[in-house]
Subunit: 258 residues, 2 copies
DNA sequence: CCCGAGTCGAGAGCACTGCTCTCTGTTTGC
DNA sequence: GCAAACAGAGAGCAGTGCTCTCGACTCGGG
């Protein structure tokens, strides 16, 4: 943008600038982890040995810095979720489902302040920019993808119970157009139930609304709840017939990078 | 405390003081509703025609004021939930279940800032005091109570699917001691799944993580999701045989006081 | 009745915040 | 080589939570 031609010769200054931006974000992320949600731009600047107004050469406002951190946090969470999926054998559908779930939980517990940025109360005047909607859906996609793979393999149990009422069916059908023919509206509704259940559970745990003497073994509790959701989604209990039925699909800590 | 004897003769000054406390809380609640989460004590004082230091005669800190508002918000939410339960016939178990759910959603959408105080990111240094744990459980109790009533009436379907693993069974059994013999651990686990599902859904909607073109008719979507949870909990679909099977158990806006 | 004690409000002040503006020195592209 | 763009420092503004002091007021007991 400010450099017309191709990406030739990053012109030392531009490279320094890019490094500076990364350094600011790194320090801000560190502050977020230690101090908590109310990020102080002045404190970040102080840690970098510069004065607060200098930071405004790189970010137009504190909210812009937060937005950058939010986007990168969505990426990191999405990466963790997909890594949790990839850690299981492709036909171990329930193992993949639990892999995604436990990866999301592990990342969230390891980065509570960033999780609060993503799924806590939105900051006062700040409105989530459009760049955040796509990465925000990666976790939901990861869960639904397991259901889709199960459906195309003919291993997704047909849902019983309450059918989807017409108005909801319209909304869900619109979502299903992106992945045509794979799932029914009933099945997608169950996948989205698992999705909101996942973040409800993680929010309770990260925000400390659960650990007050209610549940001791919170990981086992979480694992059981997500298995209930796997049942609800219609995922089969055992891996496919073409794979070794080893000790897969155990909770553990599937993925927790950094 | 500062008045030794009984509660005789509130001594004008004490009455004025109590009124002042209520007035401060009322203005603070109004500010919370209009401005958002970051409550400014000085702005509240300004609205009351007093200077900020005067407010400290009534509340030792801003967090103390917030704590008061949090406790009262829990009470209001609990009242709404129980009113939503009471609006349905006692033996219309699914109607009561949905009544509680829709009442919680309606209150939360009507009081987003207070909801964020309860279920959003916890404020920086602030740790939820012990006065908040009991009122925070009222909603969960309201849901579980419907299941208990269904169980004693022999109308709660036995759960199938994944059994509760031993470590979780220990935690749940400890919770069940307060209501002995009514539910199995499997059933309580499903009730708590519905509980976290409820707040996961409401959080998504209140915090604007859902309405971005994903779901249009969010009330119908919520209703369907909570019916899925009623299925999961094992609640019967129809009211009991001793009641008229009229047009009950419809969504609507069961309770939304104030 | 009156007077010390406790209460209340106002004001000034401290340390902090996000952000703007101006000024100086450096780097860049032509 | 030079004008333009950029980077950092510093001062400053308006706002925040909170503390302290000081005068006015009210209350309860003698």
């Amino acid at each position: 943008m400010w450099q017309g031609g191709g990406m030739s010769a990053p012109s030392i200054r531009a490279r320094i600038r890019a490094e500076m931006i990364e350094e600011i974000k790194a320090v801000a992320r560190r502050h977020l982890a230690t101090e908590g949600g109310n990020l102080s731009l002045r404190a970040v600047a102080r840690d970098l040995g510069m004065v607060s107004s200098a930071v405004y050469r790189y970010f137009p406002s504190r909210d812009a810095l937060l937005t950058e951190l939010i986007i990168e946090a969505y990426q990191a969470l999405g990466d963790a979720a997909e890594a949790g999926d990839a850690a299981a054998a492709r036909d171990d559908l329930r193992g993949r489902w639990l892999g995604v779930s436990h990866a999301v939980r592990a990342w969230s517990l390891a980065h509570p302040a960033e999780y609060a940025l993503l799924y806590g109360s939105p900051v006062p005047g700040y409105a989530a920019p459009s760049e955040t909607v796509v990465p925000a859906q990666r976790v939901a996609f990861a869960l639904v993808q397991v259901m889709i793979d199960a459906a195309v393999a003919g291993r997704l149990a047909p849902p019983d119970g309450t059918p989807v009422p017409p108005p909801v069916r319209v909304d869900l059908a619109r979502l299903l157009e992106q992945r045509p023919g794979a799932l029914t509206e009933e099945q997608l509704a169950r996948g989205m139930a698992a999705w909101s259940q996942l973040f409800g559970l993680v929010s309770f745990e990260v925000f400390g609304r659960l650990a007050q003497g209610v549940v001791e073994d919170s990981e086992a509790y979480f694992d059981h709840q997500m298995r209930l959701m796997a049942d609800l989604a219609g995922l089969p209990a055992e891996p496919g017939p073409s794979s070794d039925p080893g000790p897969a699909a155990r909770p553990g800590q599937p993925a927790s990078e950094e």
